[in-house]
């Protein structure tokens, strides 16, 4: 496989429950994240959608007491197998966070960060890869003359696009986005959404969002999650093509949620 072309890969979640200590936060999940498609996970606060997303690249391993039952796989690789190299997994499953989190270094170094962790490329190659990532995240035009400036000088929307550039610079197979627009103004939000639509050409994209319009606009598949009142565990209510979910929901809870009656 040519390392320079991302190979959008399927992620599969099978019979999975997620625990914080003794508390089951998410239960009985069966999902399939398709390559070259944007899957949006929607649902009310506390239904476990972020926990679900953060278990896909094992970033939630950092949380004390976090535990997974079931099988999550990337292609045919078991994400939680004892033999899995977590660092390598995270290189293949990139993530963009809720709040922009640029590192306190230059714009260039932020994007180059992931590229220089192992076998740093030659300077000229590195510059090209950084430019490619910045173009792909629709930021190049705004920053090409100030690549040496601190990333923290950028606006919030630019910072978030920088974080997207940082995440895709290493050409992951899957891109996870955890409410990537929740800290952004409407114009920046629109730009990031256009970007997401663009990114699905190359990646498997999974996005958690609170914003119904965003899910409707930007995704191909929608997963509706909700908390089970009985045991307070989040679970999947309905999965379907986004158009169907929003125009013809099968489950009353989905209908209530997408029409804004609760959540």
């Amino acid at each position: 496989m040519d390392a320079s072309t991302p190979s959008a890969t399927t992620m599969t979640v099978k019979d999975t429950s997620l625990f914080y200590g003794g508390f089951r936060a998410v239960k009985d999940i069966n999902l399939h994240f398709r390559p070259h498609a944007v899957t949006a996970i929607i649902g009310s606060s506390g239904c476990g959608k972020s926990t679900m997303l953060r278990s896909l690249n094992r970033i939630n391993d950092r949380v004390n007491g976090f535990r997974v039952e079931g099988t999550i796989s990337l292609g045919d690789q078991d994400v939680y197998a004892p033999t899995t190299d977590v660092v390598d997994l995270r290189r293949r499953v990139g993530m963009v966070f809720q709040r922009p989190n640029p590192f306190p270094m230059s714009i260039f170094d932020n994007v180059a960060f992931g590229l220089t962790l192992y076998a740093p490329p030659k300077r000229a190659d590195l510059e090209m890869m950084v430019e490619t990532a910045l173009r792909a995240s629709a930021l190049w035009g705004e920053v090409k003359d100030k690549l040496r400036r601190p990333a923290t000088e950028l606006s919030g929307g630019q910072q978030q696009r920088l974080c997207i550039a940082r995440a895709i610079a290493t050409r992951p197979d899957v891109l996870l986005m955890d409410e990537p627009c929740s800290a952004l103004d409407p114009i920046s939000t629109l730009k990031v959404e256009e970007l997401i639509a663009e990114l699905k050409r190359s990646y498997t994209v999974v996005i958690v969002t609170h914003n119904m319009q965003q899910a409707a606009r930007a995704s191909d598949v929608t997963v509706m999650m909700n908390m089970d009142e009985a045991d307070r565990a989040g679970h999947v209510i309905e999965v379907g093509a986004t158009d169907d979910i929003f125009t013809n929901p099968q489950h009353p809870q989905t209908e209530a949620y997408v029409s804004g009656r609760f959540g």
Binding site: R91, M95, F97, P102, P104, L117, T152, C163, R166, A169
Partner: protein, 307 residues
């Protein structure tokens, strides 16, 4: 009514601030004027350039004291800085919570130990060790003093460096890990640069503690003022050690003035360190991602408490 309370409160705070400012000014004025009187007895060139401080010849050259301070503090910080940094990284990024809590307690305990206890431990443990390991002499000298200072500066540097690292937002750590950084790459390439202003502050305040330390150093350094330090193993002195050793016996006005001049220099050095901390602090403020560092007021308090 509320307005009057406001005025009363304001005048109380104003008075308090004025007292602090005035006493600082008075301190500088007193040591400055009394110290500078030494130049009535000898010319400044002699004071600053002579390599001997000998009260019997009434010859007061500050260089042996300055050199002693510089070498002792420099050597101590060379060991203490990296060590403390390692300890704080371990505490924040690696140690599980119960271990961290125990270490925190130990650090606080170390900070609370009176100087004279450090001196005593230095005298009974470090000095004999230096004497036996490196041979020759009494074992008292710059090396012994530096080793004692390594232990004395640990709590200052560790606690401030730990705060600086802990204050870094979790999002930086997650951001680094999410692009495939190992824990060490995250620490070296993201966390340490992000915490740099706080880490510089920690080391500078540790330096302040070391520069001002008196009793513990005086007990293990040998207190030789009459010549430049010849090696790390032979007797030497530092500025504060010389003051505390000689001031009680200084009978001539010239000797007293010379010692007070040394105190004045010490004050100038300490104030410069505070200024350096402030500069490092304000540089840090320009970066929105390095939040919640210790306030400049807390840093200043730590310098003053540290001698």
């Amino acid at each position: 009514m509320r307005l009057r309370q406001g005025i009363v409160a304001q005048s109380i705070f104003f008075t308090a601030a004025a007292i602090v400012a005035l006493s600082t000014a008075a301190l500088l004025l007193f040591t400055g004027s009394r110290g500078l009187a030494v130049f009535g007895y000898m010319n400044p060139a002699e004071f600053f350039l002579s390599g001997s401080w000998n009260q019997n010849d009434e010859n007061f050259g500050v260089l042996p004291l300055l050199a002693g301070s510089l070498l002792t503090v420099g050597l101590a910080l060379l060991i203490s800085g990296p060590l403390a940094l390692g300890v704080s990284i371990f505490m924040v990024e690696i140690a599980p919570e119960p271990v961290r809590r125990v270490m925190r307690t130990v650090v606080e305990l170390f900070a609370a130990l009176p100087s004279v206890i450090y001196g005593l431990l230095g005298l009974t443990l470090v000095v004999p060790w230096v004497r036996e390991s490196f041979g020759g002499g009494l074992g008292k000298g710059i090396l012994a003093a530096s080793i004692v200072l390594v232990f004395m500066t640990q709590p200052t540097i560790v606690s401030i460096a730990e705060d600086a690292l802990r204050a870094l937002p979790e999002s930086l750590r997650e951001g680094a890990l999410a692009v495939g950084a190992t824990r060490w790459q995250m620490i070296w390439r993201v966390l340490l640069p992000a915490a740099r202003p706080g880490l510089i502050t920690a080391v500078v305040l540790g330096t302040g503690r070391a520069v001002g330390e008196t009793i513990a150093v005086q007990m293990v350094i040998g207190n030789i003022t009459s010549r430049m330090p010849k090696s790390l193993l032979t007797g030497a002195t530092t500025m504060p050690a010389a003051i505390v050793t000689q001031l009680p016996e200084a009978t001539s006005p010239e000797h007293r003035a010379a010692l007070i001049m040394v105190a004045f220099l010490l004050l100038v050095i300490t104030f410069s360190l505070i200024a350096a901390v402030r500069a490092a602090g304000s540089r840090g403020k320009a970066r929105p991602t390095t939040r919640r560092r210790p306030s400049p007021a807390a840093q200043t308090a730590a310098v003053k408490g540290g001698d």
